[in-house]
């Protein structure tokens, strides 16, 4: 249960990143990132390895210096402050507990640096450990804790100092799937309890979409799109976002006067001004529905089921259309009606679709 004292002091502050840029030996790692995080908000930066998300986090933490741009906490420019003066709490990807200290000593470390009395820091450290559900593990050394417990202690340590900003650098990536899902929810619960403004970096889209108020998708040092998880998933702004977040079918088609014709089906476009010509339409598996068809069925949207992957409530069905493979996602009860080998007919939901660059056409051009 959340302790009132643990929550009271951590009121979130606004965090602003203004045109943050970081260049390493001529290589642009972060390209003019501008982002405002509201007080108490949890923003996740999502992207593949090398997209600049961790660089952004380290610049906010003060562990690295920006080539240009500013980091502003609650209206104060902290760009020139060292990491130890920024008042941030950070949880790292690697296990970062001090091996020679017990869990409670780790949590109390930051408090001691803030010259709190022994009694005060022990009380506060105990409360914060309780907040993450580890009050019974106070005297354990890191080596005596599981990976998940170590990360929870690290979270408690970061929160105990009542930081202005909480920074989470892929804190779940070293954990197994089950622990990861549980701890992910726990991080969100604790963050909502204490109300600390939080920047969370991950390459796991499920993690980002599950716990963030807003998700920023990054690619090649740039912020491709920033929005709520629903918007990011259902209305991706760029082909990269569409392909990185969730599964996406790439189906050949042709743009004709504000619509794209995909295997005979006309679908609306996200960007109506897309020029006419051959294109690759990006279509979500859940926008594809299947109907069992006769053995002799033919046509551009008829195919054969080649695999059905059980995902729990839903199943992913792989259909061979002869010249293309298409994925469909539907409730498991429906998917069971057309096992591998069944002839099916596809229907494409008329959602607005994004167009990716047709690499073959581009190469010919």
């Amino acid at each position: 249960m959340m302790n009132k004292q643990a929550s009271s002091a951590s009121s979130g502050v606004e965090v602003r990143l203004e045109e943050l840029r970081r260049v390493f030996a001529g290589v642009v790692a972060l390209d003019e990132l501008t982002l405002t995080i509201a007080p108490g908000e949890l923003v996740a930066l999502l992207g593949p390895s090398g997209c600049g998300k961790t660089t952004a986090l380290r610049l906010v933490a003060g562990l690295d210096e920006a080539t240009s741009g500013r980091v502003i906490f609650a209206g104060t420019d902290v760009s020139r402050l060292g990491a130890n003066k920024r008042d941030v709490g950070m949880v790292f990807q690697a296990y970062s507990l001090f091996p020679h200290m017990t869990a409670i000593q780790n949590v109390a470390f930051g408090l001691q640096l803030r010259h709190q009395s022994s009694a005060e820091r022990m009380k506060r450290a105990g409360e914060t450990l309780e907040l993450v559900g580890l009050s019974g593990f106070a005297d354990r050394y890191p080596l005596q804790l599981s990976g998940g417990q170590q990360q929870r202690v690290a979270l408690a340590r970061a929160l105990a100092i009542q930081p202005k900003v909480l920074l989470l650098d892929e804190p779940l990536s070293a954990l197994d799937a089950k622990v990861r899902a549980r701890l992910r929810d726990e991080i969100r619960r604790v963050q909502l309890d204490v109300g600390t403004t939080t920047l969370f970096v991950t390459h796991d889209q499920e993690e980002a979409l599950a716990i963030a108020d807003r998700v920023g998708v990054m690619s090649k040092g740039r912020l491709e799109q920033l929005g709520t998880p629903t918007v990011i998933y259902s209305r991706p702004a760029t082909p990269f976002v569409a392909e990185f977040v969730g599964l996406t079918n790439r189906i050949a088609g042709e743009v004709k006067f504000g619509q794209v014709v995909v295997r005979g089906a006309s679908l609306p476009l996200v960007k109506a001004d897309t020029p006419n010509g051959p294109a690759i339409a990006l279509i979500r598996p859940e926008a594809v529905s299947l109907a069992t068809d006769g053995e002799t069925s033919s046509g551009p949207l008829a195919g054969t089921v080649i695999a059905v992957a059980f995902l729990g409530a839903t199943s992913r069905v792989t259909v061979d259309l002869g010249d293309e493979i298409v994925l469909a996602q539907e409730p498991t009860s429906q998917a069971s009606e057309h096992p591998a080998g069944t002839r099916v007919r596809l229907t494409l939901r008329p959602d607005p679709v994004l167009i990716a660059r047709d690499e073959k056409t581009a190469a010919e051009a």
Partner: protein, 276 residues
């Protein structure tokens, strides 16, 4: 399987026995010589050992060598440890260069080193100080390769970057990071580096002799010219001293490993300042 294990066990015993004989026979011979009476028929005597403190030359040399050992070890730690930490964290490209510089004294014979630094020491003894403690600078070069290796192994065993960044994000300055995080996590490596430095300084002869300083080994050599028994007694005492240091350090090291999980952390939390 059992026969193989027996053979391995026998091999270990033989190796242990051979090494034991190799080290203990000369020691035993030295001990025997230092307690020998005036002639073969005379009873054993500790007279040579008793003369150690009353030989001023020896007493001064022992004090100087011990002081040099402490000063050299401290200088080594103050110079090498922060440098290595900084290079690992901020200038990893320079790590090969630093390693090369630190290991270079191994490749240069002591006599060549002395020839190189002799003019500097002549200048120091004329213009600054003629104290034997000035030898600590030369000894710092001497112990560099060994202490570097020990500290490098210690730094390699911890996730230095993550630990220092975690401490920094919690508000620790670089001094606190070094004293509260780095040093406690590589205590064994620091003890090993210190031990190697102490052992090297206590056994050093060439530098001191050629630079005209009288340390323990030079004094033993001088005393051996007039009183062989006492010089051998001092040599045995120096070896025993090094052995005791080694024993104490290894006990401290193993004591930490065994003791850590058992210690009640809540009781110790209030006394961090004193402990680290």
């Amino acid at each position: 399987m059992a026969a193989r294990r027996l053979k391995l066990q026998a091999f270990r015993v033989v190796v242990f026995a051979v090494c034991g004989v190799f080290f203990l026979v000369p020691l035993g011979a030295m001990l025997e010589f230092s307690t020998r009476g005036n002639d073969v028929a005379s009873p054993r005597t500790l007279a040579a050992w008793q003369r150690i403190p009353s030989t001023p030359q020896l007493a001064d040399a022992i004090t100087a060598s011990l002081e040099l050992a402490v000063i050299t070890s401290l200088m080594m730690l103050l110079l090498v440890l922060p440098t290595m930490v900084w290079v690992r964290l901020r200038l990893p490209r320079l790590s090969r260069v630093v390693e090369f510089i630190c290991l270079m004294p191994l490749t240069v014979p002591a006599i060549a080193l002395v020839v190189g630094i002799r003019p500097i020491y002549i200048w120091i003894s004329i213009n600054v100080t003629d104290s034997i403690l000035a030898l600590a600078f030369a000894y710092l070069i001497l112990v560099l390769p060994y202490s570097y290796r020990a500290l490098d192994a210690g730094l390699g065993a911890i996730d230095l970057k993550t630990l220092t960044e975690a401490a920094r994000s919690l508000g620790a300055g670089w001094g606190t990071v070094m004293l509260r995080i780095v040093v406690p996590n590589m205590r064994s490596a620091i003890l090993n580096a210190g031990l190697l430095s102490v052992a090297l300084v206590l056994g050093e002869y060439t530098f001191a002799n050629l630079l005209n300083y009288e340390n323990l080994q030079v004094a033993i050599q001088y005393v051996s010219l007039v009183d062989a028994s006492t010089s051998i007694a001092v040599a045995v005492a120096a070896l025993l001293f090094a052995f005791v240091i080694l024993l104490v350090l290894s006990l401290i090291g193993s004591g930490q490993a065994v003791d850590k999980p058992k210690r009640p952390a809540l009781a110790r939390i209030g006394s961090w300042g004193q402990r680290t």
